[in-house]
Amino acid sequence: MKNILPILTVLLVIVAVWYAAAIKMNAPWTYAQAERAGTEVTFSEVVRDTLAQERPVLPAPHQVAQELWDTTVMKKVTSKRSLVFHGWVTLSATLLGFAIGTTAGILLAIGITHNRAMELGVMPWAIASQTIPILAIAPMIIVVLNSMGISGLIPKSIIAAYLSFFPVAVGMVKGLRAPDAMQLDLMRTYSASDAQTFWKLRLPSSMPYLFASLKVGVAASLVGTIVAELPSGATRGLGARLLSGSYYGQTIQIWSALFAAALLAASLVIIVGVIEKITLRRMGMAA
């Protein structure tokens, strides 16, 4: 646990900067209030007020922590005011979407590395597909899927998959092409089939690339789910929580939902990282 000290140090710096920023950014409001009320405020009063506003421009760390505590530990997990409940709703769609997206991305990459028509034809359009602003088509996807009788988890997962498949595909194409000429030649002398070359050479050499992409993909997949939760009339999940927080100008609630989401994303990335370590070590690649 040699990481603890560095992390704590960095955290400490961040929290200090955060407090300073909170005071600075919230102060104009305090002064404006005082001016409207026609009173003078001392600096210490300003500091106290800026760290305890109800709708701060930037909530202070302890306010966010307090809110997080209240909405996780202090609430039943089945309660709709519990972040654990909303987090789970988001997580389940994220995982499903990530699974779909990763599978699609890998399959696409395989297609692209093995079929020239795919490489030439599909890749440019896969790229183009990613430039479509997802928030614009998310409601349309949901409307279309709804009219086909599909609702609930699936539409969200599809959007999550849409965002995560691309990084996976790009990284995987690179990885599948990483074996050097001699490694490929060896397979040729064995007259190995494409499938054999794939399983025994291309796939193992793509692993470092795959995992770098999976980390990006899992974060993207979470973003996708949250995006899908915003407009889709989905009324639960961290995205819905963020939205309603924004709608009522409750900065503290936004920040705590945001932190919950980031915590979720970070844990997912860490989990992928751990799997990466284990896999690479098993493969003898983590020297």
């Binding site: 709708r55 407009p231 009324t235």
Partner: protein, 307 residues
């Protein structure tokens, strides 16, 4: 029981209390209906959902409904629970706005996504260009909340009497520091939350019958909600799955919404309709709708429902 899906224009809040009350109190059940209420959101276009077959009936504002109709979406107003408009511009006094004549040169926050029509009609009536400059107004697409006003990024923002206005107040700005311009007072009021269905579906007597029962039960819900604002707000809160709403805010919202539904028994008032159409068509060079709509509403449902 017959299935009915209702698509709301916005998230679960007291703005839609009547429907939630009817659901909770069993008025729909009594009418042999199995009603599903779908909450809306900032990027849900209810018309799209209706056309896509995701809902049978929707809540929408008349300006966007009429614009959609002109765009080839055959939708019809079957009931109008909201009598008056709750929309207004809320300005900070310190920005120096005292009357619409002060707007030029100022920055105004406006909701888009089909909600901009009343504002655009008003501005063209005032002959103020919305493209900025010294004698025009700078328009901002306002996000979800009242921040632009609090952050002084805009002189005025769009608010509803029952919602955003109170958020400004809650944020600590006293009513004395604000000045409001209600569309109702400026003579540019347009009809808000009405119930709309697809025209072709109305031809089906079974569907018509369903809607009759639906409107009747909904109006019963609305009238109960008007009389019992506190309980109605609690019911709404019950149905809010985000868990973000507060009871205080919803009770107050219910109180304000009740003022808007008060004058309506559910039937569309033709005069109100005509005024809305006139406002929208009177938009000078760039009117919202260009030809007089035909068959955009019907009394067929309310006539049966209310007798």
């Amino acid at each position: 029981a017959d299935d009915v899906t209702l698509q709301l224009k916005w998230v679960t809040q007291a703005q839609f209390a009547g429907y939630y009350v009817a659901l909770e109190k069993g008025y729909y059940e009594e009418a042999d209906l199995d009603v599903t209420i779908k909450a809306g959101g900032p990027d849900i276009a209810p018309v799209q959902v209706l056309l896509g077959g995701g809902a049978d009936v929707m809540v929408d504002w008349m300006p966007s409904a009429l614009a959609a109709r002109e765009n080839g979406a055959p939708i019809v107003n079957i009931a109008q629970p909201f009598k008056s408009s709750g929309m207004m511009l809320t300005c900070l006094k310190e920005s120096g706005v005292t009357s619409p004549a002060d707007f030029p040169g100022k920055t105004l926050g406006v909701w888009f996504f089909g909600n901009e029509y009343p504002f655009l009609s008003w501005m063209s009536k005032l002959n103020i260009p919305t493209t900025g400059g010294a004698d025009g107004v700078e328009v901002l697409k306002q996000g979800f909340n009242v921040d632009p006003l609090l952050q002084k990024q805009a002189a005025c923002i769009s608010t509803m009497t029952y919602n955003e206005y109170w958020q400004v107040i809650d944020a600590g700005i006293s009513a004395d520091d604000l000045i409001t311009f209600k569309y109702e007072d400026e003579g540019v009021a347009t009809l808000e939350d009405g119930l709309y269905v697809m025209e072709e579906k109305l031809a089906d007597p079974a569907f018509e019958d369903k809607m009759v029962r639906f409107v009747a039960a909904s109006m019963k819900g609305w009238k109960w909600a008007e009389e019992n604002p506190e309980e109605a707000a609690e019911i709404v809160l019950e149905y809010d799955e985000t868990g973000a709403q507060t009871i205080g805010h919803q009770v107050r919202m219910m109180g304000e919404v009740a003022k808007l539904t008060a004058g309506s028994n559910g039937a569309l008032d033709e005069a109100d309709y005509q005024r809305t159409v006139d406002t929208l068509m009177g938009g000078g060079s760039d009117p919202v709708i260009t030809k007089m709509p035909e068959g955009a509403w019907t009394h067929a449902i309310t006539d049966k429902a209310l007798n």
